[in-house]
C-alpha cells in the first residue's frame, strides 16, 4: 500500500468483491478487506490487506470484529453485499459510537419492516403483506384479485414474492397461479408479498454525506432483470425533482446520515411514485460500472468518500460531477439468458455485434449444454455492455436484445 494518505480515513470493506477492492486499492485511502477465510491466500499473494471473517450469522462475535477493526484504527465499515449490511451496522455502531446504526441496518435487511417504516413515514407504498407459508401467498393472491373485481376464471393480476433477505432479483418471483405458489421452495420463506404495479420501474443510486445527497443517479430499467441504463431518458429525468424529494424523505424516515442507498420505485400511470424497497449497499447488475462509463467517476471510490467520517466537503465537491449534464453519454447493459433449451456455443447476434452502441460483453461460454429452467428471475450468463449518445435508441436497442439468441 503506497500513496495512501494517513490523514484521511481508514475503511473496511465487508465482503469479497474484486471490483470493489481494485477500485479502492487505486484510491487514496487505507483499506482492509474483511472476507471469508478462503480469500486469505489470494490476498497474501496480491498484497491485499485482509482480515478473515465468517459472515454466516450475526452473533456475539460481531463485537469481536468491531474491536479488531477498531484496534487497527479503522474508521468505518462499508457493506459490499446484502449479507454484510447488518454486520456493517453492528461494526459502525461501535466504531462511530452510534448504537442506532445497528437498528437502522436491521431495517434495511428486513423487507417487511422496511416497508412498514416507509409507510409510517408517509411514503407511498403498494399493498404488501408478509408470508410465512404458501397458504399466506394464496390468500394474498386471492384478496388482491378480489379487490380488483376479478371473477373466478379471469386471469389473475400477478403478485410479487420476495424472500426477506435476498438481494436484487434473487428470490424474486412473479406469482400468477396457485401452481406458481407450489413451486416456491421452503427456504424462501418468510417473504414479502406485494401487489403488482403497472408502470415505469426504476432505481436510484444515491451517495449521501451528512444527511445530504451528494450525487443522485436514476437508473432506468428497460425490463426488470434484463436491462438497465444510465442516465435515464429525458422523460424520466423530468421527474428528477420529485424523485429527489422522495429520496430526502427516505433519508429522514430511515435517519440516514451517510453512506449509499439503492432504492427502487414505480412511477404509475396516474403519475404517482411508489416506493418499492431500499438497500444500503452497491447495486447488482454492475450499475456502478455503468455510472463510471457515463460520468467517469468510480462508484466504489464514491462509496469510500460517502462512508469515511474524515471526508471533507471540498473532496466531495471535487469528486462528484453534475448529474445528467456531465454525462458523456448513456451506458446500459443487458443480462443474457440462453433462450433455447439446449445451447452449444456463444454467438453474439450479428445485428448486435455491428451496432455502433455495442461495446463488449462478459459472457461465458456455455459450460453445460442443458439450460436450467428459470424459476425465480435467476442469474444471467453474463452482461453485454452498450454505450451511446441517445437514450431512446439505447432503450430500444436493449429491449430488442430480449428477442435475440446469444447462445445457439
Amino acid at each position: 500500500m503506497t500513496d495512501k494518505n494517513p490523514d484521511k480515513g481508514y475503511v473496511a470493506l465487508l465482503g469479497w468483491s474484486l471490483n470493489a477492492i481494485d477500485a479502492v486499492d487505486r484510491f487514496d485511502r487505507r483499506y482492509v478487506v474483511v472476507a471469508p477465510p478462503w480469500a486469505e491466500e489470494y490476498c497474501q499473494q496480491n498484497d491485499i490487506p485482509f482480515v478473515p471473517w465468517d459472515f454466516d450469522r450475526l452473533n456475539e462475535r460481531s463485537h469481536e470484529l468491531a474491536h479488531t477493526l477498531e484496534d487497527m484504527g479503522v474508521d468505518v465499515a462499508i457493506p459490499i453485499f446484502e449479507e454484510t449490511v447488518e454486520w456493517a451496522g453492528a461494526v459502525n455502531a461501535v466504531l462511530l459510537k452510534n448504537p442506532r446504526l445497528l437498528g437502522q441496518a436491521m431495517l434495511f435487511r428486513d423487507k417487511s419492516l422496511m416497508k412498514r417504516r416507509a409507510q409510517l413515514g408517509g411514503i407511498r407504498v403498494g399493498v404488501f403483506e408478509e408470508a410465512h407459508d404458501r397458504g399466506d401467498v394464496i390468500r394474498f393472491l386471492k384478496r388482491v384479485n378480489q379487490t380488483l373485481l376479478k371473477l373466478d376464471g379471469d386471469p389473475n393480476d400477478p403478485i410479487h414474492f420476495k424472500a426477506f433477505d435476498k438481494s436484487g432479483t434473487a428470490g424474486h418471483r412473479v406469482i400468477r397461479t396457485p401452481e406458481d405458489v407450489d413451486n416456491i421452495p421452503d427456504e424462501e420463506f418468510p417473504a414479502l408479498l406485494e401487489s403488482h404495479l403497472d408502470g415505469w420501474e426504476f432505481a436510484v443510486e444515491a451517495w449521501i454525506k451528512n444527511g445530504k445527497i451528494e450525487f443522485l443517479n436514476i437508473s432506468e430499467y428497460v425490463t426488470l432483470g434484463y436491462s438497465v441504463f444510465v442516465p435515464a431518458t429525458p422523460e424520466l429525468e423530468a421527474h428528477r425533482e420529485r424523485i429527489t424529494e422522495e429520496i430526502e424523505k427516505l433519508i429522514e424516515v430511515f435517519d440516514i446520515d451517510f453512506g449509499f442507498i439503492h432504492p427502487e420505485y414505480f412511477l404509475t400511470n396516474d403519475n404517482k411514485l411508489y416506493f418499492g424497497e431500499v438497500a444500503y449497499r452497491p447495486p447488482g447488475f454492475n450499475a456502478l460500472e455503468l455510472i463510471e462509463r457515463a460520468y467517469g467517476f468510480n462508484g466504489y471510490q464514491g462509496l469510500v468518500l460517502a462512508f469515511d467520517p474524515k471526508t471533507t466537503q471540498e473532496e466531495l465537491d471535487a469528486f462528484f460531477p453534475k448529474e445528467v449534464v456531465d454525462a458523456k453519454g448513456h451506458a446500459g447493459c443487458f443480462g443474457v439468458y440462453p433462450r433455447r433449451r439446449v445451447v452449444s456455443r456463444l454467438e453474439i447476434p450479428e445485428e448486435t455485434a455491428s451496432h455502433p452502441f455495442f461495446e463488449f460483453h462478459e459472457l461465458s461460454d456455455p459450460r453445460e449444454q442443458k439450460v436450467a429452467k428459470r424459476s425465480a428471475f435467476g442469474t444471467h450468463w453474463g452482461l453485454a455492455y452498450f454505450f451511446g449518445d441517445n437514450a431512446h435508441d439505447l432503450r430500444d436497442l436493449l429491449k430488442k436484445q430480449e428477442e435475440l439468441d446469444y447462445y445457439v
Binding site: 474484486l18 477492492i21 481494485d22 496480491n46 455491428s354 460483453h361 461460454d365
Partner: protein, 665 residues
C-alpha cells in the same frame, strides 16, 4: 459513389468506432490492479475479436500491441512469457472455439510483429527472435495462406477466416523470403496432383515471382525450383522469357522462322507437362497457330504422345474448333485439358465426337448461364468457360475438386464419369445447360432435380470448376432425394444409393464397419477380412480393379482425432516400386496430401501415383475405411488372412476414429 466504395467507408467508420471502444477497454485494463486484470482482459479480447474481423483491423491491433501487453492483456496466461511460446501451437489457437483465444493469439502475433519490425521492445523478446518465430508460424501455416481448404478447415468456417486473415497479415509484413523453400516444395506437391483449379497455385507462384524480384534468394535448389515455376507461368520459351506482354509476343512470333516456331511450341509443351500450368503466352500461341497455314504447330505445342497424335490425325477439324472455342486468355488451362484428353484416346470412343460437337454448339440458358457467369466472371462468354471446363474434366478426371463445399459425393461422381463414362457426363451437362434440371432414376422411380429442395450445398458451389458449378447443385439434390427414398431401410443408405447414383459398375453389395443406429463398430473383423478378399490382389485371385469403386473414409486429423465421414473412390491396388502393396485412390478434396495421424500420411507422389491419385499402404488405408462396395456373389470373406494382419489394422482404427466406437458388450 459505388456500392463498393460505400461499404468501404462503412468499414472504415466501423473500424474507427471500434478503435475508440478498444482504447476505452484498454484504459480500463491499464487502470486495474494486477490482481484485477483478468476481469478487464475479456472485454479487450471481445473488442479485438471484432476488430480483427474488419479490413484493416490488424493494423490497429498491431499499433496497440505494445500498449496492450504493458496494460496486462497477457497477465496470468502463458502468453505473458513470449520467450517460451511454441510456434506449432499458434495455428490451433487461431481456430479456437473460444473467440477470446483467437483474439489473444492475434494480439500476441501483433506484438511479435511490432517487435520484429523494431516498432516495439520487449524485455524477453528480441527482434531476431520475434522474426524467427513469425517465420516458423508462416511456414507451419502456409496452407491457410494460400487457401486450399481441407475437410478440417472447412468444418471450421468463420474461425478459419480469422486464421487466414492473421496469417496473411503476417506474411504481408514479414515477407515470404524466409519461407520460400517451404513454399516452393508445397507448390510442387500441389502441382503433382494436377488439380483442375490452379488459381491458388498461380497466386502462390505470383507471390514467389514478386519475392524473387524484390529480394532475390541465394542460388541453390530452392531458387531453381522457384524459377522453374515462375518461368512456366510468365515466360516458358525463348521469345517469352522476358515476359514482354502478349502484343509484343505475337509480333515476335509473326516474324519467327520455322525452327524458331518449333522451338516455341516445344518450349510451351515442356513447361506445360512439367507443371500442369499453361502460360498466357501458350494460349496466345495456340490461337495464333490455328491460322498459321504453313505448318501445323498444334500437336507440338500440346506435346502430344502417340495416342494424342493419332487422335489429331483423325479429328483435326474438331480439335481445331475446340481450341478456337475453349482456349482464351481467360481459360488457358483448357489447353492442358485438351492435351490430356487427346492422349487418353477417348475421341475414339464412338459417342464422344458427336458429344463434343454438341458441346461446341451448346447455348447456356437461364439459371445455368447465370451460375457460370457468377462463378467465372464476364471475361469470356459462359459457353467458353464451360467448354474449357469440359475439356479439363475429361482430360484430368482426377483433378476435380469439391471446393469449400460439403459435396464430396457429387465431385466424386463427376470424376468417376469423366474417367469411366465421359459421354454420359456430357449428356448430364447438356441437360442442365439447356433445361436447368437433371433427370435420373432410383430403382425405377424417376427423379427430377428441378422438383427437389436444395441439398447440402444449397444453391451449389461457385468456387469449383465450371462443370461442377453447373452440375453439383443438381447432383446434390438428387443424392439427398435418393437418401430420402431409402429412409426406413435397415443399414447404411449408401448401399443402394451408390450403384443407382454412379452407375452399373458399382458393386451391389456394401460392407459397413459401424452399426448405423448406434454408431459403434459392428462385425469389424469380418469387415476387414472382406476388404482384403475384395481388393487385395494376393487374396482376391489377382484380379485388378476394373472400375473405380466408391468407398467411405473416416477422416482423422494429424492427432488421429475423428474429423468426419468422407467420400472417395478406390482406383487400383498395386505394388509400388519398393514392393509395398498400396491402395491408389481419388479424393475429391482439393488436396489429397493429408496427415491422418499415427503415420497414416497420404502420399501424392513418389510411390507410383499417377496424377491426381493419393495412396497409402494397403493396411494403413484400410484402417480408415468405414464403407466399401463388394460383389454380393463373391462373398469369400478372406478367412485365410492371418489374425495378426487383421489385428494390426484394427488397432490403427481403434487408436483413431474408432476410439469411442468400440461396442459395449
Amino acid at each position: 459513389m459505388s456500392l463498393k466504395e460505400a461499404s468501404a467507408m462503412d468499414d472504415e467508420a466501423a473500424l474507427i468506432r471500434l478503435s475508440g471502444t478498444l482504447d476505452m477497454a484498454i484504459e480500463r485494463l491499464e487502470r486495474a490492479r494486477p490482481f484485477a486484470k483478468s476481469r478487464y482482459q475479456r472485454p479487450v479480447l471481445d473488442v479485438l475479436g471484432r476488430i480483427i474481423a474488419q479490413p484493416g483491423g490488424l493494423d490497429m491491433v498491431r499499433q496497440r500491441a505494445e500498449r496492450m501487453d504493458a496494460a496486462g492483456l497477457f497477465a496470468g496466461s502463458d502468453w505473458d512469457r513470449p520467450e517460451v511460446l511454441l510456434p506449432q501451437l499458434v495455428g490451433n489457437t487461431l481456430v479456437s472455439e473460444d473467440p477470446a483465444f483467437q483474439a489473444l493469439e492475434a494480439a500476441n502475433l501483433a506484438r511479435f510483429l511490432a517487435v520484429a519490425d523494431g516498432e516495439a521492445r520487449h524485455s524477453n523478446l528480441h527482434q531476431e527472435g520475434a522474426r524467427h518465430f513469425l517465420t516458423q508460424v508462416l511456414a507451419l501455416n502456409l496452407k491457410d495462406l494460400f487457401g486450399v481448404p481441407d475437410e478440417a478447415a472447412r468444418a471450421l468456417g468463420a474461425r478459419q477466416d480469422v486464421k487466414r486473415r492473421v496469417v496473411t497479415y503476417i506474411a504481408d509484413h514479414v515477407g515470404l523470403n524466409d519461407v520460400l523453400s517451404v513454399l516452393v516444395s508445397e507448390i510442387w506437391r500441389l502441382l503433382e496432383q494436377r488439380s483442375i483449379q490452379v488459381g491458388v497455385v498461380k497466386d502462390m507462384i505470383a507471390q514467389i515471382a514478386v519475392a524473387l524480384n524484390e529480394r532475390g534468394t541465394e542460388p541453390g535448389s530452392t531458387r531453381l525450383g522457384a524459377e522453374r515455376l515462375v518461368s512456366a507461368l510468365f515466360g516458358p520459351t525463348s521469345a517469352s522469357r522476358d515476359d514482354p506482354g502478349l502484343a509484343v509476343y505475337i509480333e515476335r512470333i509473326s516474324i519467327a522462322d520455322d525452327s524458331g516456331l518449333s522451338r516455341e511450341a516445344m518450349g510451351f509443351a515442356r513447361a506445360m507437362h512439367d507443371t500442369g500450368l499453361v502460360s498466357d503466352y501458350h494460349a496466345a500461341f495456340l490461337t495464333w497457330a490455328l491460322d498459321h497455314e504453313e505448318r501445323p504447330l498444334i500437336p507440338e505445342a500440346l506435346g502430344l504422345g502417340s495416342t494424342g497424335l493419332d487422335c489429331w490425325r483423325h479429328y483435326r477439324g474438331l480439335i481445331e474448333k475446340l481450341i478456337r472455342s475453349a482456349v482464351s486468355p481467360a481459360t488457358p488451362q483448357a489447353a492442358y485439358g485438351l492435351a490430356m484428353l487427346l492422349d487418353r484416346g477417348i475421341l475414339h470412343h464412338t459417342p464422344m465426337v458427336p458429344a463434343l460437337e454438341r458441346q461446341l454448339s451448346l447455348r447456356l440458358v437461364g439459371a445455368a448461364r447465370e451460375r457460370i457467369a457468377i462463378g467465372f466472371g464476364p471475361g469470356v462468354p459462359p459457353e467458353t468457360q464451360l467448354l474449357a471446363g469440359v475439356l479439363q474434366v475429361l482430360g484430368q478426371p482426377l483433378g476435380v475438386g469439391q471446393g469449400a463445399n460439403p459435396t464430396c459425393q457429387s465431385a466424386r461422381a463427376i470424376a468417376m464419369w469423366a474417367l469411366n463414362d465421359p459421354d454420359y457426363l456430357l449428356h448430364l451437362v447438356t441437360q442442365v445447360a439447356e433445361f436447368d434440371t437433371l433427370q435420373m432414376q432410383f430403382e425405377g422411380s424417376p427423379i427430377n432435380s428441378a422438383d427437389l429442395p436444395a441439398g447440402l450445398a444449397g444453391a451449389g458451389p461457385i468456387d469449383a470448376d465450371p462443370v461442377s458449378v453447373l452440375l453439383v447443385a443438381h447432383l446434390d439434390r438428387i443424392y439427398a432425394e435418393m437418401g430420402r427414398l431409402c429412409a426406413g431401410r435397415p443399414g447404411d443408405p449408401h448401399t443402394w444409393i451408390n450403384p443407382q447414383f454412379h452407375g452399373w459398375w458399382v458393386s451391389r453389395d456394401c460392407a459397413v464397419a459401424v452399426d448405423v443406429a448406434t454408431g459403434k463398430l459392428a462385425g469389424y473383423e469380418d469387415f476387414l477380412r472382406r476388404f482384403f478378399a475384395a481388393y487385395h490382389p494376393e487374396h482376391n485371385g489377382g484380379r485388378p480393379l476394373g472400375h473405380p469403386q466408391p468407398a467411405g473414409i473416416a477422416v482423422t486429423d494429424a492427432q488421429q482425432r475423428f474429423v468426419g465421414w468422407h467420400a472417395i473412390s478406390i482406383l487400383r491396388v498395386a505394388e509400388d516400386q519398393s514392393g509395398q502393396m498400396r491402395v491408389y485412390f481419388y479424393n475429391p478434396n482439393n488436396d489429397s496430401g493429408q496427415d491422418w495421424g499415427n503415420g497414416v500420411v497420404v502420399s501424392t507422389s513418389g510411390h507410383g501415383e499417377r496424377y491426381g491419385e493419393g495412396s497409402l499402404k494397403f493396411e494403413a488405408f484400410l484402417s480408415r475405411v468405414y464403407l466399401f462396395h463388394d460383389e454380393p456373389l463373391r462373398s469369400q470373406h478372406g478367412q485365410d488372412i492371418p489374425g495378426n494382419v487383421i489385428g494390426a489394422v484394427s488397432e490403427k482404427a481403434i487408436a483413431s476414429w474408432a476410439a469411442d466406437r468400440w461396442p459395449e458388450t
